[in-house]
């Protein structure tokens, strides 16, 4: 598979979940394990451009696929506009859910462009923030979508 643009080839057991493969084999620990039951969304990564829960997928299923993790969003030392917007809007408290929130946000903005707050909240139904910092997370996504739509930020 290709992870964050780099080809990766590792021998691993068929039962290795994608999230463990990323964290333990590739040492990409930005992808988190929260609930481990595909409810909380801390483990969201993109597989062939779609946001999926990497705790509910085996690494071997992603053989040949393009995988993007939170580590792959920043380009040339510049944060992705969604990351930038999370920083500017204080879209995080403890930060544990943030990688999954951002990966989900990038996916929803790609599909929907600028959204109202209700749509953003609905799209976030598979991501849980135990600090309950949703107000600023929604603001960050709203802001990021506007920045991307206005062309002020280029998205790789």
């Amino acid at each position: 598979m290709t992870v964050n643009g780099k080809p990766v080839s590792v021998d691993t057991e068929d039962r290795t979940l994608l999230v463990y493969f990323l964290r333990e084999n590739l040492r990409l620990t930005g992808t988190h394990i929260g609930c481990d039951t595909s409810q909380c969304g801390a483990c969201v990564v993109h597989v062939d451009g779609k946001a999926v829960k990497s705790c509910t997928m085996f690494a071997v299923q992603a053989q040949g696929a393009q995988v993007t993790t939170i580590e792959g969003l920043a380009k040339d030392g510049r944060l992705h506009p969604v990351q930038e917007a999370f920083r500017d809007n204080h879209g995080l408290q403890c930060g544990f859910c943030t990688p999954g929130m951002i990966m989900t946000a990038v996916d929803m903005i790609r599909r929907n462009g600028v959204m109202d707050r209700e749509t953003i909240r609905h799209e976030l139904e598979g991501n849980i923030c135990r600090c309950t910092g949703y107000v600023n997370i929604v603001s960050a996504i709203e802001d990021a979508a506007k920045r991307i739509a206005s062309g002020a930020e280029k998205v790789a």
Binding site: D14, V44, A51, K53, T56, M57, F58, Q61, M108, E125
Partner: protein
């Protein structure tokens, strides 16, 4: 959580998948994996092999026409929820698909997997039963009324593979779901459909297996309005009872959700 060990294989066609199933007594099909992998992580399932059918192109399609919507078994919930054809022909079905899990789950989970698993709280079985759909397999066609046989049980035989679910287009239909706020599974979901052959009301989440409510169907056949079933109750005997809700609570919800579904459809 780590599953028991297993061997992973990819099938390129339905016939290859069938041959792989026949060659192993403990093999299971893997499509979206959104239920199976969770069960394997809890070590409730222990297949010796997983045969991945998610990449079989001939199983992923939506075809509307001839008074029906035919959906390939490996079609994702996402594709059903966002299909213009489904939205136009059976909006209640596309709405149902949009309520399954969350976006990440809908990208992976498939209609064939949901129907074959027959989880007591899954959404699709209610649509299959209420719309009198036909389940096509690599061997035969099975009517919805004969398909769901009990908790996690179906009429599927050894190495039989669902290839398509075909839904006749109803005159009116709606699905109303009371979701568990964490899992998004249905505490109770009611699919009500009015077709040229009559009214069908199917309930998921309430009991060990999806079921119809004949008394409501008869009443709605005479008068398709929420008022026609407002005074009806279903018994709590045999309803699911767990930390999320008692049997009595679920029985009560059946009437509430049925009224809402009919009001929306009518």
């Amino acid at each position: 959580m780590i599953t028991y060990p297993f061997r992973y294989r990819r099938a390129q066609s339905v016939s290859e998948a069938e041959a792989m199933l026949k060659a192993s007594s403990e093999a299971k099909l893997l499509s979206g994996g959104q239920t199976l992998i969770a069960a394997m992580k809890m070590r409730l399932a222990n297949p010796s092999e997983l045969i991945d059918i998610s990449g079989i192109k001939e199983l992923s399609y939506i075809r509307a026409g001839g008074g029906a919507v035919a959906i390939g078994a490996a079609t994702t919930h996402w594709d059903v929820a966002t299909s213009a054809d489904v939205k136009k022909a059976i909006p209640a079905l596309s709405h149902l698909a949009s309520l399954i899990g969350d976006p990440a789950v809908r990208y992976k989970g498939t209609i064939g997997g949901s129907v074959a698993n027959n989880d007591p709280a899954a959404d699709y079985p209610s649509a299959v039963l209420a719309l009198n759909a036909t389940i096509k397999t690599n061997r035969r066609s099975i009517k919805a009324d004969d398909f769901f046989t009990g908790m996690f049980a179906t009429a599927l035989e050894e190495s039989e593979i669902i290839t398509e679910v075909s839904f006749p287009v109803p005159e009116k239909a709606a699905y109303k779901k009371f979701p568990n706020p964490a899992s998004r599974y249905a505490m109770v979901g009611v699919f009500a459909a009015k077709t040229k052959d009559g009214v069908r009301v199917a309930v998921t989440g309430a009991a060990p297996c999806v079921f119809r409510v004949p008394a409501m169907e008869t009443a709605l056949g005479k008068n398709f309005s929420a008022d026609a079933i407002a005074g009806m109750t279903v018994g709590a005997d045999g309803m699911n009872s767990d930390i999320h809700g008692s049997a009595e609570y679920r029985a009560h919800l059946v009437t509430v959700m049925a009224k809402r579904a009919v009001a929306e459809a009518a």
